[in-house]
């Protein structure tokens, strides 16, 4: 960058351009949201298949115990590598979303594995509502409407789940993961790619 005398207009333009360029460098790409949506979808789809095959009691808990912690480990490594590789700076919004993600994730894991039996039938709708809160807050923080709308729909699906037969809870989780996580995640990914072209 060569030094030259700046006019007031050039100075303002330089400030605007630099701020835009900086923001572009640490935009979310939706990868992790798609991952968790897909994991949730696979786990609950597999439950239906296992029930159909009569293997539900043997494999269900093992499947859940393997996939979700693996997702957690992958998320940790992905975020750490991305920050280190791309020299991503820390921002207030980034810190809030990051902390919220880990706090929500850990709470969901603890609720699911340690207190799942106490939650009993309420577990699925409560998980959907917690996922929804995270998505709404992330959408508002990133100012990305599809995430917020996806979160609101997920929230409604969560409350709606209380009203249906427990046999359909898995189906509700699958629809919730597609509507609230996978579709908004893909849209975020597309928006990120378009801006980086």
């Amino acid at each position: 960058m060569d030094e030259k005398h700046l006019t007031p207009e050039e100075s303002l333009l330089l400030i605007t351009k630099t701020i835009e360029e900086t923001k572009k460098r640490f935009e979310e790409n939706g990868h992790i949201i798609i991952l968790w949506g897909t994991l949730t979808f696979i786990v609950f789809l597999s439950q239906y298949v296992l029930v159909f095959l009569g293997l539900y009691k043997i494999f269900d808990i093992m499947w859940t115990c393997i996939l979700f912690p693996l997702g957690g480990i992958y998320t940790f490594i992905y975020v750490r590598r991305k920050v280190q590789k791309e020299n991503i700076p820390t921002t207030i919004i980034g810190r809030i979303i990051g902390t919220m993600g880990w706090v929500f994730g850990l709470n969901l894991m603890i609720l699911g594995f340690l207190f799942g039996h106490q939650l009993d039938k309420a577990a699925a709708p409560i998980f959907l509502i917690l996922f929804a809160l995270f998505m709404i807050m992330t959408g508002v923080s990133l100012k990305f409407k599809p995430l917020t709308i996806g979160g609101i729909l997920l929230n409604l699906i969560g409350f709606g789940t209380f009203l249906i037969n427990t046999d359909y809870y898995g189906l509700s989780m699958m629809i919730g993961s597609v509507v609230g996580l996978i579709i908004p995640g893909i849209l975020l990914n597309r928006a990120d790619r378009k801006e980086n072209v």
Partner: protein, 96 residues
């Protein structure tokens, strides 16, 4: 009557560095160099000037055995940037 623009900020590279730091909590040297697309030596000189003016805080640590310089804006730097932008607006639109 126009106020004089802050000479520390009224420089292309220093203004870019401060603009970046206004957007983030803190950023490392490599990020600033990549975003401004300026030479490392030039970035170092301008950071030193901003540091001497009390506008930025420089923290030197080690990351994976490599030196890691992290920068953040000070409250004095924030105030100077706000004043600078307000003065710019007056230059562009004196009636405001």
């Amino acid at each position: 009557m126009f106020n004089e623009l802050d000479p520390i900020l009224h420089s292309q590279l220093r203004l870019s560095i401060v603009s970046i730091l206004m957007t983030v909590d803190e950023a490392n040297f490599t990020f600033i160099q990549e975003t401004t697309k300026a030479a490392a030596g030039n970035v170092s000189i301008q950071i030193r000037k901003l540091q001497d003016a009390g506008y930025v805080k420089v923290k030197k640590t080690f990351k994976n055995n490599y030196p890691n310089t992290t920068l953040s804006i000070t409250s004095k730097g924030m105030k100077a940037f706000e004043d600078y932008v307000n003065n710019l607006k007056k230059y562009i639109n004196p009636k405001e």
